[in-house]
Amino acid sequence: MQISGAQMVIEALIAEGVETVFGYPGGAIMNVYDEIYKQDKFHHILTRHEQAAVHAAEGYSKASGKVGVAMITSGPGFTNAVTGLADAYMDSIPLVVISGQVPMSLIGTDAFQEIDAVGISRSCTKHNYLVTDAKDLPRILKEAFYIASSGRPGPVHVDIPKDVTAQIEEFNYDIELELETYKPTTKGNPRQIKKAMEAIAAAKRPLFYLGGGIINSNAAYDVRDLIHKTQIPAVETFMARGTLSHDDKYLIGMLGMHGSYASNMAMSETDLVIALGARFDDRVTGKLSEFAKNAAIIHVDIDPASISKLVNADYPIVGDVKSVVNEMLTLADCVDGSRYESWRETIENFDALHPLTFHEDSERIKPQWVVKRVGELLGDDANISTDVGQHQMWAAQFYPFTRPRQFVSSGGLGTMGFGFPAAMGVKAAAPEKVSINFTGDGSILMNVQELMTAVEKKLPVINIILNNNFLGMVRQWQTLFYDKRHSETDLSMQPDFVKLAEAFGGIGYRVSTKEDFDAALKDAVEKNVVAFIDVVVERFENVLPMVPAGGSLFNMMLLEKKEDK
């Protein structure tokens, strides 16, 4: 079949089973948009900013487990999208991002809207391509989807000059990929796995350290089986929230900088860490030399470069978590779970000593209460996205997650402005669930223009603004480590969030009592509309407990007991 490069893009997306594309057109990508107009196999969601298009594709991918697709034009369109690429790269989210480029004849001439896109995206993508001949397009697009979704997933960027999208060539997508240099190891070494299981059976205080790789590899339910079978307690990273249900008796909680006391103490006291799809991020480990100091380490990861990068693994296992965990399950009979009884008790005592909680306030709403309340009212019926800051940590700490892919947040890059567009992507992927975005008064303004997209495309995201009139997380560090010098974090000057929502055709609520909050949330869910719920919360609340950056996990700043206050 002889078709244009632009048509090839469409045919490839259809062949890959893509249902939703997020994007923003411009001169260099117009040939492709012209073909989008002519087809009806997938729909296109026009965001109001390219960064949001990529974040929406990330949210879509996270919620659905599929490859997210975003399309943008050259120059400023592309540079706007870079933050999204970097975000997806840091969190290993499979994306294919297609950008237009100036015609081949103009490349390198500083032409209008020319930028060296592949040069820029090289350091924040898993792989990228500049397509110089439409003959290569079928292969490149096929490779792009394969590379994005296999091995350690990540974003792949395909930059296509305008004349290449106009070029007519033979199209055949039924091709075998010959990527002889790219062959991710998915099956773990059986001998290593056996040794690891023996180590587990012999350990006295083993601990599962669950990372985001579990969610990426759809292994959460297999991991649940392994944990229940071995009766070994588990801590989750921020990225792994929802791997275990919040009420699972083996779940201790989240670990790391804002993890629970019990989780961090368990990590400090364990004699065997079983790390699954986790990468020992510094926000998790604290001071490396003190991290799980007395423990041997089993590390399962699809990415060989993650293993022993920061902490030396005694049992390195390169492979897909799902496949390795299933292999472990077949050997799990050698583990006698009753042996860990007293270890589990020790952990329960840690938790009783300093449970994860907060102090209620009779006058003002506490932000933690809002998160808990949404959990009580919506629970499993909601998918949760967040922006970045204190509200993000409270969401991770206090929301009762019941399943993987329920929680979508920017972990590795920590991108303010991520939440709202990501929540739109989540809604597009899972329309049957309520899509909640917990956000801050700082973060929400970073992609507020997406109100228009959400209203137009009927993506009823409910944005709950935990409004503390501060760049709260930075303010917290200033309070704790900069002697309360709140330099440029005061956000007393604010838009009227209610009117702002209304101006775009959504609904706004401003609430400062618990009753009003309940009523607003109920109303927004019932009306099924794009909403801002602007919640006036205590201004100076801190996220606790906390491990100061670079400190040891067992040395936490804790919530003061109420009677000490």
Binding site: G119, S123, L179, T181, P304, A305, S308, K309
Partner: protein, 158 residues
């Protein structure tokens, strides 16, 4: 363990494709690693090229570099050389009035010779181990070299 920050030489086999070289050098610069020298050429009768990279780093750093290089899609193989034959080349230009027979004799000791003689200058070439090239260039100082150019190393495992 060998000493920290020792000189190390790795070979990287890559698919010949656009921008593969910048992918590799970006990986070094993006992580703050230094490349001391870099040599690239296609491997005859294949679609691959071979890069020889000399760098400084500890065993741990080298392990990371190797793994990270391996993650790049067009990279086929990465290996660090332990027992290798390693050569580098240097070209040096002298004024024709220098003591050319002395120069030639020394060059011969370093696998080299005069490769070009013009009206006012001569060019010599030597090919030897990098350390020996250092020595050679040192001993040439007294003949007032006008220009020196030095290649990166190439290496083969014994």
């Amino acid at each position: 363990m060998t000493t920290d920050n020792a000189r190390r030489v790795i070979s990287v086999i890559v698919v010949n494709e656009a921008s593969v070289l910048s992918r590799i050098t970006d990986l070094f610069s993006g992580r703050g690693y230094n490349i001391t020298s870099l040599t690239v050429a296609p491997i005859p009768d294949t679609k691959y090229s071979r890069l020889t990279i000399a760098t400084l780093g500890s065993v741990k750093v080298m392990e990371q570099i190797t793994k990270q290089l391996h993650k790049l899609i067009p990279v086929l193989r990465v290996y660090e050389h332990e027992d290798m034959v390693e050569k580098e080349m240097a070209l040096v230009k002298f004024d024709i009035t220098e003591n050319l027979s002395d120069i030639n004799t020394i060059c011969e000791a370093y696998n080299g010779k005069i490769v070009n003689a013009g009206e006012s200058s001569v060019i010599v070439m030597v090919a030897d181990e990098p350390k020996r090239i250092d020595n050679f260039l040192n001993s040439m100082k007294r003949y007032n070299p006008k220009e020196i150019v030095r290649s990166g190393a190439v290496a083969l495992e014994r």
